[in-house]
C-alpha cells in the first residue's frame, strides 16, 4: 500500500499514517510519501513512541511496518 501525503504539512502525514494503520493487522507494511521537512525526524520519534518500525528511503519515501496495535 502507498500512502501519498506529498504536499501535506505536519501533523497531517502522521495523522493519516495512524488512520491507515489502525484498520490493519500486525505485520502490515506500507510506503509513505511525504515531503514535509518534519516527517523524517517525526516518523522516527513516532516509531519509538508507538512501538512501530520506520525506514527512511530515497526521495521522500518511508517504509512503515506495523508492529503493535
Amino acid at each position: 500500500m502507498i500512502l501519498d501525503c506529498l504536499g501535506k504539512r505536519c501533523p497531517l502525514p502522521i495523522i493519516e499514517l495512524a488512520k491507515a494503520l489502525s484498520q490493519q493487522p500486525i505485520g502490515f507494511k506500507l510506503t509513505l510519501l511525504s515531503d514535509d521537512p518534519a516527517s523524517q525526524p517525526d516518523l522516527i520519534a513516532w516509531a519509538r513512541m508507538t512501538g512501530n518500525s520506520v525506514e527512511t528511503g530515497e526521495s521522500n519515501t518511508f517504509q512503515i511496518t506495523k508492529l503493535t496495535d
Partner: protein, 329 residues
C-alpha cells in the same frame, strides 16, 4: 526606580561633559559593577550590546584566526551555525540526553559552548581544557551557571534575568587571545551607542532576580516535576524533551497541530512558544528537537517564571489536556 524616571536620568550621554552627563556616567559605572559581580567577571571586561546576537559573531569569530577550527554542536543557536558556514569547523552531535563529549579537542580548536539550551533546558556538564579558545553562550543560563574557568569570550542576554529585551552583555577575558572581527579604527568593541536606559533597567532586574532565585529555586524545581509528571501520566502520546535547567520544559504531542494548539492556549490566557515547523518563521522544525530525537510536531515550550504559582500551573495543565483532546478529535 520607575521606568519614566529611568528614561529621564539616562537621557544624557555619559561620555559628554556637564552635570547630567556625569550623573549618567555614574549610573553606567554602577550598572557595570552590578553585572560584573553577578556574572563573575571584571567590570572592564564588559561590553554592552544593543544587538545581543551580535555577540555570537564577536565572541566566536574574534577567536578564529590562523586557521583555528570552530567546534560546535547540533543544538547550538542558528547564529552559531551561520558563523560555522564558511570556515574550518566541526559539528558535534549530542547524545539522547543532549550531552556532548569533548574527548578529541586539540589546541587549535575553538569551542562554542552552550551552557544551557533555551528550548529544552539541557545543561552541558563537560568542561574541556587545553583548547585555543572558549566562547560561552550563556544567553539562556543567565546567572544560573558560573563561567567555566578557561573562558575566552562570553555572551549573556538581559531577558534571562527578566530584564528588558534588546540588551546583551558581551565579555572578553583579559587573558583571551581575541581580535575584533568587526571593522574598527580603535580599541572599542561595542559599535554603540547602547541605550543607557536599558542598561540601568537590566541592572535593576538582575539584582532583584538573583535575590529571588535563591528563594524560589525549590518552588520552580517542584513545578517542573509536577508538569513533567502530569504530562507523562495524563496526556497520552506525549514526548517530553530531556531537560536540565528547571525553568524550561519542552513537550511534544502526537497528532496535534502546534499552531492550532498555541493559538487556542493563547486565547485561553496561556501564551506559550513552540518548536514545531508550522509555528516557525522558516517552516522548519526545531533543529534542537530533531537533534535530540524528540517529536517535533505539536510542540510547546514552557518557561516557569519567578511569579508562577502552583495554582496557575494546575489550571494550565487541565486546559492543556483538554485542548489537546479537542484538537485530536
Amino acid at each position: 526606580m520607575a521606568l519614566p524616571h529611568i528614561f529621564e536620568v539616562t537621557w544624557p550621554d555619559p561620555a559628554k561633559l556637564g552635570t547630567d552627563p556625569k550623573s549618567a556616567a555614574l549610573l553606567l559605572n554602577e550598572a557595570r559593577e552590578t553585572f560584573a559581580s553577578h556574572l563573575g567577571i571584571r567590570s572592564d571586561e564588559i561590553h554592552f550590546l544593543g544587538e545581543p546576537n551580535l555577540g555570537f559573531h564577536l565572541g566566536i569569530s574574534g577567536l578564529l584566526f590562523d586557521e583555528k577550527k570552530l567546534i560546535y554542536s547540533n543544538i547550538d543557536r542558528m547564529e552559531v551555525f551561520a558563523i560555522a558556514e564558511n570556515r574550518p569547523s566541526k559539528m558535534l552531535e549530542v547524545d539522547p540526553n543532549g550531552q556532548l563529549y569533548f574527548s578529541d579537542l586539540s589546541k587549535d580548536d575553538v569551542l562554542a559552548l552552550q551552557l544551557c539550551n533555551r528550548e529544552t533546558g539541557v545543561i552541558q556538564s563537560g568542561r574541556p581544557e587545553n583548547i585555543a579558545g572558549l566562547f560561552v553562550d550563556a544567553t539562556a543560563s543567565g546567572t544560573r551557571i558560573p563561567l567555566p574557568k578557561n573562558w575566552s569570550t562570553a555572551l549573556w542576554d538581559s531577558t534571562s534575568w527578566a530584564g528588558p529585551s534588546g540588551l546583551g552583555i558581551f565579555a572578553v577575558s583579559k587573558s583571551a587571545n581575541w581580535k575584533n572581527p568587526l571593522p574598527h579604527l580603535d580599541g572599542r568593541i561595542n559599535p554603540g551607542p547602547t541605550s543607557l536606559a536599558l542598561i540601568v533597567a537590566s541592572a535593576l532586574a538582575i539584582d532583584s532576580w538573583v535575590a529571588d532565585e535563591k528563594n524560589l529555586a525549590a518552588k520552580i524545581s517542584k513545578i517542573n516535576s509536577d508538569i513533567r509528571n502530569y504530562i507523562s501520566t495524563n496526556i497520552p502520546d506525549s514526548d517530553l524533551a530531556p531537560g536540565g535547567a528547571n525553568h524550561l520544559i519542552s513537550a511534544s504531542f502526537l497528532y496535534v497541530n502546534a499552531e492550532q494548539l498555541v493559538t487556542k492556549l493563547a486565547d485561553k490566557g496561556y501564551p506559550v512558544d513552540s518548536g514545531s515547523a508550522c509555528s516557525s518563521t522558516n517552516m522548519q522544525p526545531s533543529h534542537v528537537l530533531a537533534a535530540l530525537g524528540v517529536l517535533t510536531q505539536g510542540n510547546i515550550r514552557l518557561t516557569i517564571h519567578h511569579a508562577t504559582t502552583f495554582e496557575e500551573v494546575k489550571e494550565f495543565l487541565e486546559v492543556l489536556s483538554q485542548t489537546i483532546s479537542e484538537l485530536r478529535g
